[in-house]
């Protein structure tokens, strides 16, 4: 009851300023922009031969479970009679594996056998840019491991059966385009040695994550280009909404909520509220939670709105992105704890805003410095090196300060899992060194607890 009262009061206060309307207008503009996006699937007659089947040269060993990418040379895939029916695509697939000499198995049999095996030896390569140009602070050295051609024995190749081949092909559709439930059936027809015929049915293929879509802005008024659906949504969700959008939301929310507590403790208002039957610590914590609820609703509108609109426009509905709502709230919880602490000590909203944004900036700098330091360490032959103290500062800073950057990285991972195809995920090798959730969340929680405890202690023991 008292909590609801304080919450409603905080809302009334927030709605009283003009900043909230700036925020709402920005949100509306942004959601409007997203709503103006148009997605037009590229025609199957072009995508199947020129894009999808071209990628089949890569595969994931261990029946698709491996983290390492393997290659299969010498197999040709030729589609014919491509039919599209709604989002479903059917075609006949001719697979030509170069026949082996001296009675050796053909390349397709070998590939199928290799697909079932673990990757073995690997080489490191630089990742092609699948999703975006590397951001400063990402690992631009993004490397991925490629399996060296997997040795397959004659017996293993001979043991390959038609069901293994269809399973391999079905897995390829899932790995490259994220098409789940592909049905591949061998055609009952005699073929020359090393040549195989299959009927392929790809359900919901043109709405799959990997399917190229020509993207238009302003309801098709501006042609952006042809990109895989999942990648487009990933970039929108990760970089634009959760990157820029979340940054702006956090800043505006810091400004709006920074006034809550200074207004509460202002001479003249404090006496009024303290004389009510509510304890001081409870009052302060309720106010704090009020601020969090505020950003929670704001991000629910922005992220939820983006998610729904993108879903409606593109047909891609993966709920993982919605995790951004609690994540942003949590990141804000850290900043708002700083704001609360400063406000209780100084009674000044301006001080709260400046110090909170300063704190966020320091965390950002430390996060960037840490990433750079990691890169420099990985390059012993780099043209120059930082002094040792710089490494020490960035490492210690990163260890003892809340992992604001880590939360961001983790959210990127979750977003990627919700949008990218399995093979794109393997290219995003940044994924290999993901911070642990426990550490990232735990350390921030500890900071929040300590700062709030200080604020409560001060608020409890002050006169007036």
């Amino acid at each position: 009851m008292q909590f609801c009262a304080i919450l409603r009061d905080s809302f009334r206060e927030a709605m009283d300023g003009f900043v909230i309307y700036v925020m709402l207008v920005l949100s509306l503009l942004f959601l409007g922009l997203i709503a103006s996006l148009s997605f037009e699937p590229a025609p199957a007659s072009r995508v199947i031969p020129d894009v999808l089947l071209q990628r089949f040269v890569l595969f994931l060993p261990e029946s698709g479970a491996s983290q390492i990418i393997g290659t299969i040379p010498g197999v040709r895939y030729e589609p014919s009679a491509i039919e599209t029916e709604g989002s479903h695509v059917r075609f006949r697939l001719k697979v030509q594996g170069t026949p082996g000499r001296n009675g050796e198995a053909d390349a397709f049999r070998k590939a199928t056998a290799a697909w079932k095996k673990p990757p073995g030896k690997t080489v490191k390569l630089s990742a092609p840019s699948t999703t975006s140009r590397p951001k400063l602070g990402d690992k631009p050295l993004s490397e991925f491991e490629l399996a060296e051609p997997i040795a397959v024995t004659t017996e293993e190749a001979a043991a390959v059966t038609p069901p293994m081949m269809t399973a391999f092909l079905e897995n390829q559709f899932a790995v490259h385009f994220g098409i789940n439930g592909a049905q591949v059936t061998p055609v009952d027809q005699t073929t020359p040695a090393g040549e195989y015929l299959f009927d392929v049915h790809l359900p919901r293929a043109t709405a799959s994550r990997g399917w190229p879509q020509s993207l238009g802005l302003f309801f098709g008024g501006v042609e952006v280009g042809e990109v895989g659906l999942g990648q487009t949504i990933y970039i929108l969700e990760d970089q634009i909404v959760n990157g820029i959008g979340a940054g702006i939301s956090l800043m505006i929310a810091v400004v709006i909520t920074a006034f809550f507590i200074p207004n509460l403790v202002r001479k003249g208002s404090l006496d009024l509220i303290i004389a009510k039957p509510i304890g001081r610590v409870r009052l302060l914590l309720y106010k704090y939670l009020g601020g969090l609820t505020f950003i929670f609703l704001l991000s629910a509108v922005n992220f939820g709105g983006t998610w729904v609109i993108l879903g409606l426009r593109s047909g891609h509905w993966d709920p993982r992105f919605l995790l951004a709502i609690p994540m942003l709230t949590f990141t804000f919880a850290l900043l708002y704890a700083v704001s609360t602490l400063v406000a209780v000590f100084t009674r000044s909203a301006i001080a709260a805003i400046i110090l909170t944004l300063g704190f966020a900036f320091v965390l950002y700098l430390i996060g960037q410095a840490k990433s750079l330091a990691d890169q420099m360490r990985a390059m012993p032959e780099a043209p120059f090196h930082w002094p040792d103290s710089a490494y020490t500062i960035s490492d210690t800073g990163n260890t003892i300060l809340p992992r604001y950057k880590d939360l961001d990285k983790l959210m990127s991972l979750v977003t990627a899992e919700g949008t990218l195809t399995p093979i794109e995920m393997r290219f995003m090798t940044v994924t290999k060194e993901f911070p642990s959730w426990g550490e990232a969340v735990g350390l921030s929680l500890a900071y929040i607890a300590v700062m709030l405890a200080c604020a409560c202690w001060r608020f409890r023991n002050r006169d007036g």
């Binding site: 709605m15 208002s269 006496d271 009024l272 303290i274 004389a275 009510k276 039957p277």
Partner: protein
């Protein structure tokens, strides 16, 4: 059980001693007035009782619980001095918010808020934002929020500050009504006339100490002074009366005769009779609370600057230009 009781209550703000051993008791169902100069410590005393300020020493109890107990504040109303209501509320929404904090039901909140705003004369404007209110309107709202939840005790720090004369009369009537409903009221004020009109008991605080305490009648009664007026054209026998041992002060056409300890006015009346003077006016003079107050604080060290109740001369040099 007294509603308020403090004993030897002390408060230091750093090096400033705001309260120096204050002991007061307020009985239920009375109106208690606390007087004192600026900086005497009136507001500090109330703030300690409400838990806004921490006491440094001594005892302070409110409604039987130590001052500052959260739950007890359900039964308390408070109008602070220099209050700053959130401008984004309207009078009605503010009372609704406070009502929720007091745990009132929706129906109670609505009914009592409307009634209270009606009583203080804000009903017409209760839906406009507080930031559009005049000073007196905010003060009226402050009074409404202090009593709308039916508290057992109300603390009012300068309740009539900024309120027009009609409003003041209304507030006095309201306080009498609340008292008649069993509410205890504790008023801080400089407006002695007002306090005199409504209070059952009064305390005078000076420099953080209680210098007088009692009923208004106790404080203002003065048995040893009579004001006399004779018929026109008759001269008052000042010297003869003085010769009898009664000090006289003249302020035409009246003469004040002071009666020393153990004597009565009778010898003076006999003298006038003997001299065949006709009496037109004979009154035992009462002091106003203001007289008592000024006397008290003049004898003590004043609270702010050492002004002794007089204004310092204005800097005239500049004004001459």
């Amino acid at each position: 059980m007294p509603v308020v009781s403090t004993s030897n209550l002390c408060k230091n703000y750093g090096r400033i001693a705001a309260l120096r051993g204050v002991s007061v008791t307020v009985e239920a169902g009375t109106i208690y007035g606390l007087l004192g100069q600026n900086g005497a410590g009136k507001s500090t005393l109330v703030k300690i009782l409400l838990g806004i300020v921490k006491k440094s020493n001594g005892e302070a109890n409110l409604l039987g619980a130590p001052a500052g107990t959260t739950a007890i504040r359900n039964r308390v109303g408070y109008l602070p001095e220099d209050h700053l209501f959130p401008g984004y509320h309207s009078a009605r929404s503010l009372l609704d918010f406070y009502g929720r904090l007091y745990g009132l039901s929706r129906a109670e909140r609505r009914g009592r808020a409307d009634e209270a705003l009606d009583v203080v004369g804000l009903r017409k404007r209760m839906d406009s934002k507080i930031r559009t209110y005049s000073k007196g309107m905010k003060q009226r709202l402050g009074i409404a929020q202090a009593f709308f939840h039916n508290p057992d005790v109300i603390f009012l720090d300068e309740p009539t500050d900024g309120v027009d004369p009609v409003g003041r009369k209304e507030i006095r009537d309201l306080l009498q009504r609340l008292k008649s409903e069993g509410c205890t009221i504790f008023v801080n004020s400089h407006l002695l006339g007002e306090v005199e009109l409504i209070s059952d008991r009064v305390a005078i605080l000076n420099q953080g100490q209680i210098v007088r305490e009692g009923t208004v009648a106790d404080l203002t009664r003065q048995t040893n002074r009579y004001t006399i007026r004779l018929a026109d054209g008759q001269a008052f026998p000042t010297e003869d009366v003085r010769a009898l041992g009664f000090p006289v002060t003249a302020h035409n056409p009246f003469h004040d005769v002071e009666i020393p300890e153990g004597k009565t006015i009778d010898p003076v009346l006999h003298l006038l009779q003997r001299e065949r003077l006709s009496l037109r006016h004979l009154v035992e003079t009462k002091q106003t609370l203001e007289d008592v107050f000024v006397q008290m604080v003049e004898s003590g060290e004043p609270g702010t600057d050492r002004r002794q109740g007089k204004t310092a001369p204005l800097p005239t040099a500049k004004r001459a230009e």
